[in-house]
C-alpha cells in the first residue's frame, strides 16, 4: 500500500481528504459530509485537496472519510456524522489519531495509539484485492487518477499484440465469467472471433439484478475505467467496433460514472478512431436498462438493446454466433471485464496463481443479512463460506444464530449452516444445489423462516418471469401459490411432492436460465429444511414465528403499564385499554404488523405461536 504514488495518497498539496460518494455512503449522508469538509477546509485555511472516491467495500463503516497528510499516517474514520467533520480534522492535524478506525499504514515517529492498520483488520487482511484494488482510492470521475495507478497499460500492451495472442493469454489465466455461469472467457471470445463478417458487438453486463448483490454497482461507481479498459480489450480481441454498457436505470450513479468514464476515454484517445495509433476503431455507448431481472439473461439483454421486450431466445445459436441484430456478439459481466484489464496489465501468471485448480483468480462477494460486518469482499475463488461469513464479515450479531446462507440470488440456493465449510467455486456450489451467480451471499439467521424465504424468492421470479414460455410463466406462479398456501396454514403433505414435480418440469423444459434455476431456492430448502415445511403443514406452526398465519401478538398484563402508546400507534385500532391499566389486543382486527412491539417501552408485547385451529382452516378454505 505504501508503494502508492504520493499524488494519489496525499494529493498535489500534500494533504488529501477523501470522501466516498457512492450509493451506499450517500444513503448514510456522505454528501452533507462532503459539503462540511469543503467548508471546514475553507474556514481553517488549510491547503487540503478534497476529493471524492468510490466505496471500498467495507459497508459497515459507512460513511467513512480518509485524511492523509505528508508525514502522518493516512487515517480512515468510520461512521462519520456531518457534525463530526471539524473535530476529526482538528484531531488529525494535532496528531491525535485515537478516534480513527484504521490506518492505511503506520509512519515512524507518530505514536500509533491503538489504531490498527487496514492490513490488521479481519475484514481486510484475508482479502486479495485484485479488481477492487482502486476502489475507495481513486477518484472515479478522474481518468488521470486511473492512469497514474497504471491504468490503460493493459490496453496499450494488448494493442501491440495480435488478437489471437490476447485470447491465448486470457486462456492461460484461466478466467471464467463472473456473471454466474462461469463459462471460460477465452472460449466465448474465440468462438466470436472466428465468425465471419466485420460487424460484431461487445456488451458489458452491468445489469445487476440479484437482490443482495452490489459488486457490479460498486465497481462501476468506484473504478469505472477498469471496466472500460477491459471492454476495449475485449472489442479488439474479437474484432468488434461497437459496444454497449448495459446499466440499470435504478443505479443512476453507476450509469453516470460510466458515462463520464466513456467521455474522458474519448477525450484521451482510448476510444474512437485509430486508438493509440493502432488503427483500431472502437465506440462505446452506455445503455440505460428500463429494469427487468430477465435482462441478466444474455439473449434477453440483446432483445432489450434492440428496443423490444426482454424475452430470451432459443440457444443455440449462441450470441457469440448470432447475437445483437443477428451479428456475433459477446456479453461479459463487468467484473469479468475488470479482470481482463488487470490480467492484461499485470500478466496472467499472478492471476492464475490464485484460486483453485478449475477456477482461477479472485471473485467479489457481497455478504449481507445477519452479519456484523456487511460488505463486499474480494477473495480467491475457493475460499470457504465460513471464512467469508465468520472471519471477514464477523458472524451473526449477538444473540443470533446463523441458519443458512443464500448464495447466488433468486437463482441460487440456501445452504445450511452445517455446510459452511464448502469452498466457493462454481462446481462445488452447483453440487450443493446453489449457483455462484453474481456472488451475493445473504446470511439468514434463526429469526427467519425458510419456507417464507423460499416463498419470497418465488414471488420475485414469478414477478420477473417474462411470460414467454409456459413452464416459466405458470411454473413460478404455481410454486408461489403452493408456498403461499403452506405459509398461510392450508398446506398439505402432498404439496411437497407437487413442488418437486414442478421443479423437475421447469429444470427440464424452461427456455432460459432464469426459468431453469428458479426452482433452486425451493429445492434446496426442501432438501435441507424439510422439517420446517412439515412443521407448517402438519403441526400448523412456524418455528421462527415469521409466517403471520401462525403468530399472535399478546400483551403481558403483568408488564403492561397502560401507557396507551401501543393503542395510539396501532394502524388498525386493534388495541384497547384505559390509561394506567393493562391493554388487550383484539385478535380479529390485528394485522400483525409489529408496530406495538416496537413502541412498547416496557417490552410487554410478545409474539407467540398461535396454532391455527382446524376450525379456522375450514373458514379460510371457504
Amino acid at each position: 500500500m505504501s508503494a502508492m504514488p504520493k499524488e494519489i495518497l496525499y494529493g498535489k498539496t500534500g494533504f488529501k481528504i477523501k470522501v466516498p460518494i457512492a450509493s451506499c455512503t450517500v444513503a448514510g449522508g456522505a454528501e452533507k459530509i462532503y459539503e462540511n469538509v469543503l467548508a471546514e477546509v475553507k474556514s481553517r485555511n488549510v491547503n487540503a485537496e478534497v476529493t471524492i472516491v468510490g466505496c471500498m467495500g467495507l459497508d459497515f463503516i459507512d460513511p467513512w472519510i480518509e485524511l492523509a497528510r505528508v508525514g502522518y499516517p493516512p487515517a480512515i474514520y468510520a461512521k462519520v456524522k456531518p457534525e463530526d467533520v471539524g473535530r476529526i480534522i482538528s484531531n488529525y492535524l494535532s496528531g491525535d489519531l485515537s478516534q480513527a478506525y484504521a490506518l492505511r499504514f503506520r509512519v515512524n515517529g507518530i505514536k500509533k495509539e491503538d489504531v490498527p492498520t487496514l492490513d490488521e483488520l479481519d475484514s481486510w487482511k484475508y482479502q486479495v484485492r485484485w479488481v477492487s484494488r482502486n476502489c475507495g482510492i481513486v477518484n472515479p470521475e478522474s481518468i488521470e487518477d486511473y492512469i497514474i495507478l497504471g491504468g490503460y497499460r493493459g490496453l496499450k500492451r494488448s494493442l501491440s499484440m495480435k488478437p489471437e495472442e490476447i485470447i491465448e493469454e486470457i486462456k492461460k489465466s484461466g478466467l471464467r465469467g463472473r456473471g454466474g455461469a462461469g463459462f471460460p472467457t477465452w472460449l466465448k471470445w474465440k468462438i466470436c472471433r472466428e465468425q465471419p463478417g466485420d460487424e460484431k458487438y461487445v456488451i458489458a453486463n452491468c445489469d445487476e439484478g440479484d437482490p443482495g448483490a452490489f459488486m457490479n454497482r460498486l465497481l462501476a461507481e468506484s473504478d469505472p475505467h477498469r471496466i472500460l479498459e477491459g471492454l476495449i480489450i475485449a472489442g479488439y480481441a474479437i474484432g468488434a467496433q461497437k459496444s454497449f454498457i448495459f446499466v440499470r436505470a435504478e443505479k443512476p450513479l453507476a450509469a453516470r460514472r460510466l458515462s463520464k468514464a466513456v467521455e474522458d476515454a474519448y477525450a484521451s484517445g482510448f476510444l474512437g478512431g485509430n486508438i493509440l495509433n493502432s488503427g483500431f476503431n472502437f465506440d462505446v455507448e452506455v445503455f440505460l436498462s428500463a429494469g427487468a431481472f430477465v435482462c441478466g439473461e444474455e439473449t434477453a439483454m440483446i432483445s432489450a438493446i434492440e428496443g423490444g421486450r426482454a424475452t430470451p431466445r432459443q440457444r443455440p445459436p449462441y450470441p457469440a454466433v448470432k447475437g445483437l441484430w443477428n451479428k456475433p456478439t459477446i456479453i461479459n459481466n463487468v467484473e469479468t471485464l475488470a479482470h481482463v484489464a488487470t490480467i492484461m496489465s499485470d500478466g496472467w501468471k499472478k492471476f492464475a496463481a490464485l484460486g483453485t485448480e478449475r477456477s482461477k483468480g479472485t471473485k467479489m462477494y457481497c455478504v449481507v443479512g445477519s452479519v456484523k460486518r456487511t460488505g463486499a469482499y474480494e477473495v480467491p475463488i475457493g475460499t470457504s463460506i465460513r471464512d467469508l461469513v465468520y472471519r471477514m464479515a464477523g458472524g451473526p450479531p449477538e444473540g443470533r444464530k446463523i441458519k443458512a446462507v443464500q448464495v447466488g440470488g433468486p437463482s441460487g440456493g440456501c445452504i445450511p449452516s452445517s455446510m459452511l465449510d464448502l469452498p466457493l467455486d462454481y462446481e462445488t456450489l452447483q453440487e450443493a444445489g446453489a449457483i455462484m451467480g453474481s456472488g451475493g451471499i445473504v446470511v439468514i439467521d434463526d429469526s427467519n423462516c425458510m419456507v417464507d424465504i423460499a416463498r419470497f424468492f418465488l414471488s420475485f421470479t414469478m414477478a420477473e418471469s417474462c411470460g414467454q414460455c409456459i413452464p416459466g410463466r405458470i411454473g413460478t406462479r404455481l410454486m408461489y401459490e403452493i408456498l403461499t398456501r403452506i405459509t398461510s396454514g392450508l398446506g398439505e403433505m402432498r404439496d411437497l411432492d407437487l413442488l418437486r414435480e414442478i421443479c423437475t418440469v421447469m429444470i427440464k423444459t424452461c427456455l432460459c436460465a432464469l426459468g431453469r434455476t428458479a426452482p433452486n431456492p425451493v429445492l434446496t430448502t426442501l432438501r435441507y429444511f424439510k422439517d420446517e415445511y412439515v412443521a407448517h403443514i402438519k403441526e400448523k406452526v412456524c418455528p421462527a414465528l415469521v409466517c403471520k398465519a401462525f403468530v399472535r401478538y399478546k400483551i403481558d398484563p403483568n408488564k403492561c403499564k397502560g401507557c396507551t402508546l401501543c393503542a395510539k400507534n396501532c394502524p388498525v385500532q386493534a388495541i384497547s385499554g384505559n390509561l394506567g391499566s393493562p391493554h388487550v389486543i383484539n385478535q380479529d382486527k390485528c394485522v400483525k404488523c409489529g408496530t406495538c412491539v416496537e413502541v412498547c417501552p416496557s417490552n410487554a408485547i410478545i409474539k407467540v405461536s398461535g396454532k391455527i385451529m382446524e376450525k379456522q382452516v375450514q373458514v379460510m378454505k371457504e
Binding site: 440479484d210 434492440e306 400507534n569
Partner: protein, 193 residues
Amino acid sequence: MHKSATSLLASPNIPSENEVYLFVSKITSKSSRNNLIKILQAVQNRYGYLPEAGLKAISQFMKIPLSRVYGVATFYHQFKLEPPGRYVILVCMGTACHAKGNMNNYEFLRLLLGLDSNKHTTEDGMFSLESARCFGCCSLAPVIMIMSSDGSYKRLYGHVTPMLLKKIINEYRVKVLKEVTIHVGHAKRNPVR
C-alpha cells in the same frame, strides 16, 4: 383551506395531448435509428409517467404498432402508465430487506396511507407506494427510498421501522404544506393572468 390547497398542488400535472404530441414528434425526429426504450424513457423523464397520448404519438411517429409500444411499456419496471404522486415511496424488496422485515413496513405504509392492492396513490395525490428491487444498500437494510415524481429529489432511509416511517411521512406532509402555503401566498400577491 389548507387541505384544498394541498390537493390542488399535489395533484399531478396532466399534460395536454397536444403538448405530448409535439414533444414526441420532436424527440423522434432527432435521429434516424431510434430505440423504442430510449424514446419511452425520454417521455417518462419529461412527464413522470407515460401518458396515453404519448404512447399513441410514439406509435405513429416511429411506425410501430401501438400494441408493441404498450407491450414494451408494460414489460419494464421503470415505466409507469399512471401519474405518480408528488412523492414516490419505494420499499426495497431485496433479500436482505425482506429478511429484516421490510414486508411489514410495506403493509404498515399501506395501512397508514389508506392504500390497497389496486390503489397505489393516495387520494390527495401526495404519495405513491411502490415496491422496488434491491438498491444495493443492503448494509442499511431495511431501506426505503422517497423520490419526487420527476426524480429530481431522492432520499434513502435506512433501518426503517413502522414508527420511523410514521415520522418520515409526517415530515413530508409538513414539508408539502409549507411549500403550498408559500405558493398560495405568492400567487395571491402576483395573480397569474
